[in-house]
């Protein structure tokens, strides 16, 4: 079970009214390497992985939901007061026709989220390598969004999220080392 804390993991500030940024940010909401995909991937894989690393998948999977909430807040702030003209300009007119200003799990190109984005192979090494790749891809996505954004406050929040991906990748790499069970052993080859 979970205990919900009614605050964001890191404060979200958006300083410019630029709904176009919402279109980019939605990639991390409902995209292949986004926070939803990350959370669901890890929290599902943890049932069929050695005991030693279950806790890590639970912790990181849970944190991804906290990131999802931050992205949602950013998108919401950028779209809630946007005029129809601004939505059109931002390329969000098709989104409006389908969803009004509601958030939806799709990527920056409007493709809806699918479970085909994630995998559970049941092989611990295969799954952890997928997780490492997912973290590096999420890190890269944050870089490309930061490159597209000129909002300093928004970028501050994105930098925090990107830093977390670096730490997550590190922990998944350590999980592989734990499963190799060669960490403390004297190496005689």
């Amino acid at each position: 079970m979970w205990i919900y804390e009614k605050k964001l993991q890191y404060p979200v500030r958006v300083s410019t009214c630029n709904p176009k940024l919402a279109k980019y940010l939605i990639e991390q909401y409902g995209g292949a390497d986004g926070e939803l995909a990350a959370a669901l991937r890890y929290l599902n894989q943890r049932y069929s992985i050695p005991d030693k690393v279950i806790g890590l998948l639970t912790d990181i999977g849970t944190e991804e939901f906290a990131h999802l909430e931050m992205i949602a807040t950013m998108v919401y702030k950028l779209t809630k007061d946007a005029t129809l003209e601004q939505l059109k300009e931002a390329g969000l007119d098709a989104h409006y026709v389908n969803h009004d200003r509601a958030l939806f799990y799709n990527n920056a190109a409007g493709v809806p989220w699918t479970a085909a984005y994630i995998q559970a192979k049941g092989d611990p090494i295969a799954d952890l390598y997928e997780d490492i790749a997912a973290e590096e891809k999420a890190r890269a996505t944050y870089q490309w969004i930061i490159n597209m954004s000129d909002d300093p406050d928004l970028n501050d929040g994105l930098r925090f999220l990107r830093e977390r991906e670096i730490v997550h990748a590190q922990r998944f790499r350590e999980a592989v080392e734990i499963l190799k069970e060669e960490r403390d052993r004297k190496k005689i080859f």
Binding site: Y10, R139, Q143, D150, R159, I166, V167, Q170, E174
Partner: protein, 76 residues
């Protein structure tokens, strides 16, 4: 000097249609270099750690856009 930013120089054809980007850059984040984290590494203060996104100085590697870099001069 060690850096987590790397460069390469792609082939430029004399017949390319657009002005070439001569230098391409990519990131090699600190998690690639450490292996299993050794004990007793330097930490940020709790307040700083919450702001930076990591407790461990070795993993702190913030990314700034070219636009921000141009306005800041440096990125750390």
């Amino acid at each position: 000097m060690f850096t987590t930013r790397k460069q390469y120089y792609p082939y430029i054809s004399p017949f390319d249609p657009c002005p070439p980007i001569r230098v391409k850059t990519y990131v090699t984040a600190p998690n690639l270099y450490l292996g299993f984290q050794p004990p007793n590494l330097p930490q940020f203060s709790p307040h700083e750690a919450l702001q930076k996104g990591t407790l461990w100085k070795v993993f702190y590697d913030p990314y700034y856009s070219p636009y921000e870099m141009a306005n800041k001069g440096d990125y750390k």
